[in-house]
């Protein structure tokens, strides 16, 4: 297939009319616009928020764009762009064995919240010193903070870091002091701004920590024994109190019972006395007969004289009937 098949009017052998010339002009303009737009697109730089763009001309950084939005530069390869992230990042130091002022060892791990500040000077410093590598920056931050942690920790006693009184815990001061030590140097050396430093981890060396945990266990075992003994003591006390109460209650009841019985005896005696006083002879006779009646039984043999009543009447007859 040849071009002749598709557009015979463009054949060099055919005369060009006004419409063909217009079409040619339009096509040329459109093509030129496309080329111009393509070139312009290479000159447009989009700067996202929380990022900066460094414009380098033939490798030399000439300006820094920090305002988000669109910006312009010369087309590649005259000018090229280097995006620099300005977001806040955090990095940890890892556990560091540091000594306190009272010569105790403690393992401390801190985090640092850092960022590249939004000003051209520090952005360029960050670019030149750390090659725009966040990992490299994090490593430098880690090294700086780790080194200063030793000197900072030596200004604090262990009781300033761990204390049962919350007001006596000065970890905030430790963090502020550490930040104060690393912040100016990191800004000056690498163009990194430190926003916050925090003690992310604080523990004891291996042997000390193991001993602490074992001590906790031992203390608890003692506490268990104390709790058991205390429980037994309280139980015994309760039982003892109850026994005392029971003994006292029964004794009191017996005393009161004795008094009651004695009262009954007194009342009975009073009754007997009343009866006696009414007729002592009759009382004596009646009580004697009552007593005799009580002791009499089927096996009892009573021996009486014939001259005693009532058998006397058997031998003597009615009173006065026969002389004795």
């Amino acid at each position: 297939m040849s071009a002749h098949d598709f557009s015979p009017e463009e054949d060099d052998d055919e005369p060009k009319g006004p419409r063909a010339r217009i079409r040619m002009t339009v096509r040329t303009v459109v093509a030129s616009l496309i080329v111009i737009i393509a070139v312009l697109v290479t000159c447009v730089v989009m700067v996202p928020a929380d990022e900066a763009v460094v414009i380098s001309r033939l490798g030399n950084p000439v300006r820094v764009i920090t305002k988000p939005g669109l910006a312009f530069k010369w087309f590649y390869p005259i000018e090229s762009t280097i995006p620099v992230k300005l977001q806040l990042q955090t990095s940890s130091t890892g556990l560091q064995d540091v000594g306190t002022r009272d010569n105790l060892r403690v393992l401390v791990q801190t985090y640092t919240a850092w960022r590249v500040p939004n000003d051209p000077e520090h952005i360029l410093k960050y670019l030149r010193t750390l090659r725009n590598q966040p990992d490299e920056a994090a490593m430098q931050v880690r090294n700086f903070v780790s080194a200063r942690m030793h000197t900072t920790a030596s200004n604090f006693n262990f009781s300033d870091l761990v204390n049962p009184d919350p007001a006596a815990v000065h970890i905030d001061a430790f963090e502020q002091q550490l930040r104060g030590q690393v912040s100016p140097q990191l800004l000056q050396s690498y163009g990194i701004e430190v926003s916050q430093v925090g003690v992310e981890r604080m523990t004891l060396p291996e042997l000390t920590l193991a001993a602490t945990v074992n001590r906790m266990a031992a203390e608890r075992e003692i506490a268990a024994a104390q709790a058991t003994a205390e429980g037994a003591k309280r139980a015994a006390q309760i039982t003892s109190d109850a026994e005392v109460y029971a003994t006292e209650t029964v004794a009191t009841a017996r005393r009161q019972a004795s008094q009651t019985i004695a009262g009954g005896e007194v009342a009975a005696a009073r009754v007997y006395a009343g009866a006696y006083n009414a007729n002592p002879g009759l009382y004596t006779t009646l009580r004697s007969l009552d007593t005799a009646s009580k002791v009499m039984g089927p096996n009892t043999t009573v021996i009486l004289r014939t001259d005693s009543a009532p058998f006397k009447v058997l031998s003597d007859g009615p009173s006065g009937a026969a002389p004795r």
Partner: protein
Amino acid sequence: MTGEPDHLPEAEGPPPAPPPGPIVQSAAIGFRIIFFATLLLGAFWFASNCRVINPENQAVVLRFGQVVKTQPSGLLLAWPRPIDRVEMLPGPERRLTRPVGPLLKVAGLNEASNDPGAKPLPDTAAPYLTGDNNVVLLDATLNYRISDPVAYVLRKDHLLPALDRIFRATAVRVAAGQSLNDFLVAQGASGGRGLGINTVREAVRQRLSDEMNARLKALDTGKVGFGVEIVRIDLEPQLPPVAKLAYDQVLTATQKAEQNRATAQIDAENLRQGADQQAVQIKGDARRTATDRTTLATTDTTSILAYERAAGSARSGLEQQYFRDNIGTVLGKAGSVLVVDPQSGQRIVTNGPGARPR
């Protein structure tokens, strides 16, 4: 172009061009289809950032990288990419959760438990020193919400590790000033400086939230914060595995002691009640005895008084009469009555009704 027929008059112009062949016509149709498809795709592209934001979401629109607006629920109209970029976010009222990530294990904290029934320790539980020189393991889940959608969109890539670190720093600070008992039941009794133990533990959790928010807010003062706010921290404190069994023993011993005390109290109560009952019994018996005694005396003397009243003025023969009335009854109770004459030695034996046959 290729498909257009030429309608020049036949008489004056060159002969009409031959009609395009089938291949040309096919190509022309193909181009038209591509043209309309492109138009359609262009329309879709143009409307690609127009969307409905649900009530649980919100959106942030960035135009050429610059934040131009935030949109709560409703219809969002925005230019297509690459002009506008729409970031969909959870709404400000939605609670997002973040389990605090694990750390490298600390040497010296023997993870092996001597309690065979103990649950395995989660990897995310990290040790913290408490103010009373103990160690507590804290496993936490953070509940947070987006307070500044713009800041959240810009820094969300670094948010989660930062949240973990800020929580740990806060927990180090808080735990260093609290006792172990402020986090979990370690001593089986209240140790909350005069407050209820649950109140103290709730205060510790609240303090963790407050101090975390304070740290997040401190970052916001430099306009570099993460745009989130801690709503609640779900804290699961645990003991080091080695010490856990010993702590459980304390609780067991405490419970056992309480059980012994309760048993002793029950026994003591039984003893008291038994003593009370015995006392009542003794007193009752005594009252009964006293009453019996009085009644007996009254009974014993009733007949005397009756005789006395009945006799009136004839008191002199009263004893004889009484004697005669009753001597038979008395002697009748005896098995035998032996009457002896003191002078002759004769005997009279009378068998009473109670005598056994010989």
